[in-house]
Symmetry: C2
């Protein structure tokens, strides 16, 4: 039985939405997992009351009296609040009492705590956030989504490995194509770091590198060099594009609502709105740490929390953690 | 009378589309300008034949026997083909025989030629591409859109000046708000260059700096610090987001078409499609050079060329060039 710790105190509407997501997950997903709700247990119990019948046999409550606020400085918060839901939740995994951790709380604090408590696999220079971008076809994983704002070429190669393993294990791509985000597809394009990474990636065994890709290739799922499952970039660019995409979806949804008020009830339009609502998606894995950690949007609704539980279970079932360890032991770092 | 040189040989469908755009501009825009069609005059004459009545009194043909291909290396092409439509077109402006240059050809070649032939204003470290992003409200200018893939903090401050003058002169914003693209709004966010630029911008006179903004703030037209007319970033990030936006529009349009085939004929839906079609927009100014140069998308349809003519005329009429010179003479560089 997979044990998934859920930060009940993270997110803009915690613990209500987190509890609702947990309850939905227990009801709707295959029963391969149990959930550990981490936070102020009195608050959690109170929130659970409104939910009628819940499978309490698959639900554990873990007391964590402290809460890290969304605006707190990550490292300082983690150090000064060791009994926060983030600290306790990740601590369970470190002690072997849990298999995964999910939080919609302070992203920086989750990253800092995961790196400090779980540590990164040998050979991993930096943990990175993998962000699955919804497209008209299959999702494309953009890595890094914001964990590292300054990257050197070797770190980008590391992201290519992390993304490849995730795409294989969780996204079901047997031999994932990896593109490097650049301003053009030619060898000489880009800044110094990206040019070096391009040359390194061309000669990295174990990576199916399709070459430089441009901003427009992400949603197309293909660059000049072929189909892409993973797009590698530093966390500054990745974060900017991720947030831009989210806002573009919101803007298009608003325009659609104004232009076509009479068709909004149609199921195909509802599906379109769902696609455009980034908060529907199930969180982003922090890849490279020893263990499983998923970071959700602060505004995640219950369905997004449920999706994150599903993805966490997949990450554990597919042995992603061990596979990442093996990938880097086999030469995941550029030597 | 404003003289606008148009590269008749640039673009994916040259000279047909360029000629069509010129003809539309002469017919539909106020008659404050004349157009200089630069390229192989025999080809231009042939293309003009299909257009019935054209105001030839406001149309000059300028012979340029060479053509720079879309795939050619910019600097080498410019040096080996001095009589290309790009070289001749910008040369007219240098000689005082033209006021503006528009091309949908090889972007790198136009940038290189403009910088070499027109040179940059004193105090301008680097010319930059200003890209107006369409939003649900007013457009927001993202600068740099791809001219400079590696920037230092002082160059980013220079872009803030260039963008501010453009927003004042051409976009009609009296005191434009400038945001710095970052991964969060707090002072300590970002990579080393952006952190330094943030501190410099806070103390730069003449810039209404509203602070760090995130990827989601561009289309919203406002960050935590207030409304934004200009977003400053390096050309790597700007180019990635610009191309991403273009593809997102295309993807949404495709999904809309599939989901709602029966409403596509409605005028409000047509307007929405037009909004989503980035090729409709009128090109991006290269800011900082002494003169006026506009770079259009290679796939620009005739309407985009016409819009570019309108913008070029506005740039000349508003004395943008002189205003940029004055801005930098008054302390546009960080001293």
């Amino acid at each position: 039985m997979i044990r998934i710790a859920l930060d009940a105190m993270g997110g803009d509407n915690a613990p209500r939405v987190e509890i609702e997501g947990a309850v939905q997950a227990l009801r709707e997903l295959p029963p391969t997992f149990r959930i550990q709700l981490v936070g102020r247990t009195a608050d959690i119990e109170a929130a659970l009351k409104s939910h009628g019948e819940v499978d309490r046999a698959r639900l554990d409550l873990v007391e964590a009296p402290e809460v890290v606020g969304m605006g707190e400085k990550p490292l300082a918060a983690i150090k000064s609040k060791p009994r926060s839901s983030i600290g306790i939740g990740l601590g369970l995994q470190k002690k072997g009492q849990s298999d995964a951790f999910i939080s919609a709380g302070n992203t920086g604090a989750v990253m800092a705590a995961a790196t400090l408590l779980l540590r990164v696999h040998e050979g991993v220079a930096r943990a990175a956030i993998g962000t699955p971008f919804p497209t008209a076809g299959q999702p494309v994983l953009v890595i890094d989504g914001g964990a590292n704002v300054d990257c050197d070429a070797r770190e980008l190669v590391g992201f290519a490995h992390l993304g490849s393993v995730y795409a294989r294990d969780v996204m079901g791509r047997a031999t994932p194509g990896v593109g490097l985000l650049n301003v053009g597809e030619e060898d000489e394009k880009g800044n110094a770091v990206v040019k070096e990474a391009h040359q390194l990636l061309k000669q990295t065994p174990g990576i199916r590198y399709v070459g430089n890709v441009e901003g427009r290739d992400i949603l197309a799922g293909r660059g000049k060099g072929g189909e892409i499952d993973v797009v590698v970039c530093d966390g500054f660019v990745g974060n900017a594009i991720l947030k831009f995409y989210e806002s573009a979806g919101r803007m298009f949804a608003g325009m659609l609502q104004q232009a076509l008020p009479d068709v909004l009830g149609r199921p195909e339009v509802k599906r379109l709105f769902k696609f455009l609502d980034y908060s529907e998606y199930g969180g982003a894995p922090l890849l490279g740490v020893k263990g499983v950690a998923i970071i959700c949007h602060g505004a995640s609704p219950a369905r997004a929390i449920m999706h994150a539980v599903r993805v966490a279970a997949q990450m554990v079932e597919s042995h992603l953690d061990q596979d990442i360890g093996a990938e880097f032991a086999e030469g995941g770092t550029v030597r």
